[in-house]
């Protein structure tokens, strides 16, 4: 077993990091690594890019574990477990649920990067959403990235290189992840979580290879049910009143989904924080540690607002997949459908609308996503989007 086992469909990227970690594990020899920029050389600043769900941060922490573990990332030792719980003393993490990373957060991180490692060979600094830094904030990082102390390694994650300033890009070594195939993701679900093959394939497809989402769909009946309801709301819309009621229903679904995810994640976080503080589950929190637990709870509360927007966005991605499928059928593209499970309804939808209308709906969904990200009232954004679905109905009814 090793920390690399739980990653999927990223064999090229894993090879790069494995090689880097094993090179790093070799005795530090200045004369050998100094001039060498070859594949075995230890690079101190990394950037992992890839679409959401491709496993950017999973890979970042696997690499961190491989650097901090005395056995090169065994996945079972105390170091590895502490990395998994984000509590390793030589690991510093900057992850945010806010839209922007503040300059103070980065300053703190940069100054802590100057320390020598306390127990491991390295000190690892991870910034999970490096794309959320303003230019001024990025500039604080530049010098740290360029000349980190001998034993400090930076790992930045972002959706794409284009999300970072050229000055940052030029100082890091980039490793690009690809969207894993549905087969890769299904394989992971079977291997890691013991999911039935058929369920795994369906979940991987419906999650469009987003690993976290696929896991939820495969293992959580409610999540599956909510996804199915989302699609059926859209398929049932014929009139403007339908659209208004449908938008309200979608909001309820998004809210329920966001709440479920938040609850699961909060509970997990709380448990792992307590464990790292040495408190067993069910045991009372000693007074001395209560403030730490309280800080965590406050952070969790703060991010609840953001999670609703994320919940709506997940719904919109699901709806987009529905109309993408319909378009493929209308165009006779013969490509694999995402929503194979409701092929019958998809065929009917493709039949009763024109490709141009399907495209208009897809545009409307994209506009709704943009609006919600710009703080337009969610209800209004969804209503406007669903009203577009009534256009084809009207046209067919009155030729």
């Amino acid at each position: 077993m090793s920390v690399w086992d739980e990653l999927t469909g990223q064999s090229e990227a894993i090879d790069v990091f494995r090689a880097a970690a094993s090179g790093a594990a070799a005795p530090v020899d200045h004369t050998a690594t100094h001039a060498s920029t070859g594949s075995g050389a230890m690079t101190h600043s990394w950037l992992i890019t890839g679409p959401p769900g491709s496993g950017r941060s999973n890979l970042a922490y696997a690499f961190a574990a491989a650097l901090l573990c005395r056995n090169g990332g065994c996945g079972v030792c105390a170091d590895c477990r502490q990395v998994a719980a984000r509590t390793h003393p030589d690991l510093a993490v900057l992850s945010t649920d806010r839209v922007i990373i503040s300059i103070e957060e980065v300053r703190t991180l940069v100054s802590s990067s100057q320390y020598s490692p306390s127990v491991s060979r390295y000190r690892v600094m991870v910034i999970e959403d490096a794309d959320r830094m303003a230019e001024r904030t990025s500039n604080v990082l530049l010098k740290a990235l360029e000349e980190p102390p001998e034993r400090t390694v930076w790992i930045l994650c972002a959706p794409s290189e284009a999300d970072l300033l050229p000055t940052v890009r030029s100082r890091v070594r980039s490793v690009r992840l690809r969207v894993p195939s549905a087969t890769d993701v299904a394989g992971l679900l079977e291997r890691r979580d013991g999911v039935e093959p058929q369920t795994a394939v369906r979940a991987a497809r419906e999650a469009q290879s987003h690993i976290g989402m696929a896991h939820r769909l495969a293992t959580n009946v409610d999540a599956r049910q909510r996804r199915a309801s989302t699609l059926s709301v859209a398929l049932g819309i014929r009139s403007v009143p339908d659209a208004i009621m449908g938008a309200a229903r979608l909001l309820e679904l998004a809210k329920a989904d966001a709440e479920a995810i938040t609850e699961e994640r909060d509970a997990e976080e709380r448990e792992s924080t307590l464990r790292s503080l040495g408190v067993e589950p069910g045991q009372a929190v000693p007074a001395a540690l209560r403030s730490q637990v309280k800080t965590l709870e406050e952070d969790q509360k703060r991010r609840a607002t953001r999670s609703l927007r994320d919940g709506i966005d997940r719904i919109l991605v699901d709806l987009l997949s529905l109309y993408r499928d319909a378009l493929l059928i209308q165009l006779g593209a013969g490509l694999e459908l995402i929503n194979v499970a409701i092929q019958g309804e998809l065929d009917a939808l493709a039949e009763r609308t024109e490709p141009a209308e399907t495209l208009a709906v897809m545009d409307a969904i994209a506009i709704a996503r943009r609006r919600i990200s710009h703080n337009v009232t969610p209800a209004l954004s969804l209503e406007a989007m669903l009203i577009t679905l009534t256009h084809s109905t009207n046209r067919k009814a009155t030729p």
Partner: protein, 353 residues
């Protein structure tokens, strides 16, 4: 800034509705609007017509629930035809229960006073007579007789909610009925912004319930109603929806000139058009539809009036225009005033531009 104003009513007048200056103390039960219950004669008194309407609708819904065959009839006491009350109260062929709503008792004819007093002595079986008296001295003789009656008679007192604490309790109850959490600061801010009109306060509560998903805080209220924009916003929306383009544009400019924020302006339009869209094409009584549509009966009645001249397609285009306007305003870049004016042009043409 919606600074919370303190209660402006230092000395509170004794409960309105009891117009009987030197009349004997009532012997019948006196209830608040939400305590309304069936009785042979129900006097709904007081100047707060929003609460009176609500209480009467609540009674109707309750009776309808008990027996769906309930027959509801209305009498206008101001133009009362002699014998009307007895005719309507006389048993029908199939023995359905009857609810007789008498409006404008404060302007009633002398004939009505005489016949209603007679009726008090011999009320009909399975019949519920609701007397709505909106305040004033007219009909005092009848009110005294009702209040001294010995039978199954109650009075529901719909006093104007003059005190901020009363309006506060009212707003809290509105949110509680919708199952929503609201901070005390938010309620205080709302109450101070809507101190004039209970219907507006109620619709503001409903709007916040519809438009937000988290706990409603003072910040939420501030975002929507800073600077008492609300009344202006609803006035602009009402006039645009009724097709009065020029008036609506003038109201908009006035509102903006007096510091109104464009964001709650769009929210007021959204709330109204959304309600209209839900009500569009529905049939049946507003009381019956209320639960199904998640709206109050008065909202349904209002939306039906607002829907005059509108089509589903026009409504659809207008709502899409609102989303676009909201984005223009919040995203900056475009001129918010221009965006709002364009929105009003579309909506006052009922989306048929």
């Amino acid at each position: 800034m919606a600074a919370v104003r303190g209660s402006r009513s230092g000395a509170v007048k004794s409960a309105a509705g009891k117009t009987s200056g030197k009349s004997p103390a009532p012997v019948i039960p006196q209830l608040t609007w939400e305590q309304i219950r069936p009785a042979a004669v129900v006097l709904v008194s007081g100047t707060e017509s929003f609460l009176a309407d609500r209480a009467i609708r609540q009674l109707r819904d309750l009776l309808k629930l008990e027996d769906p065959s309930l027959e509801v009839t209305d009498i206008d006491a101001a133009s009362y035809a002699p014998g009307e009350l007895l005719t309507m109260a006389s048993p029908s062929l199939f023995g359905e229960p009857r609810m007789i709503r008498v409006t404008s008792v404060e302007k009633c004819t002398d004939n009505f006073i005489l016949e209603a007093i007679d009726y008090l002595a011999y009320p009909a079986d399975d019949t519920y007579v609701v007397l709505r008296h909106g305040g004033g001295v007219r009909g005092k003789r009848l009110l005294d007789a009702v209040r001294a009656a010995t039978g199954d008679v109650i009075e529901v007192v719909c006093t104007e909610l003059k005190k901020d604490t009363e309006r506060y309790d009212f707003a809290v109850a509105e949110f509680r009925a919708a199952g929503r959490r609201v901070s005390p600061g938010a309620v205080r801010a709302l109450v101070s912004a809507f101190s004039d009109d209970l219907a507006e306060l109620s619709s503001a509560c409903n709007q916040l319930v519809a438009d937000t998903s988290d706990e409603i805080t003072e910040a939420t209220v501030e975002r929507y109603y800073a600077g008492r924009v609300e009344t202006n916003a609803f006035a602009v929306a009402d006039s645009a929806i009724a097709g009065r383009y020029g008036e609506s544009l003038a109201l908009l400019r006035h509102a903006l000139a007096t510091g109104a924020d464009p964001v709650p302006m769009v929210a007021a339009f959204a709330m109204k058009l959304r309600t209209m869209a839900k009500v569009l094409g529905t049939r049946g009584g507003s009381g019956q539809l209320a639960g199904q549509l998640g709206l109050a009966p008065w909202q349904i009645d209002r939306a039906r009036r607002d829907l005059q001249g509108w089509t589903g397609e026009g409504l659809g285009r207008s709502i899409q225009m609102l989303a676009e306007t909201d984005e223009n305003i919040k995203g900056g870049g475009r001129d918010p005033v221009y965006s709002l004016e364009r929105m009003i042009a579309t909506i006052s043409a009922r989306g048929e531009l």
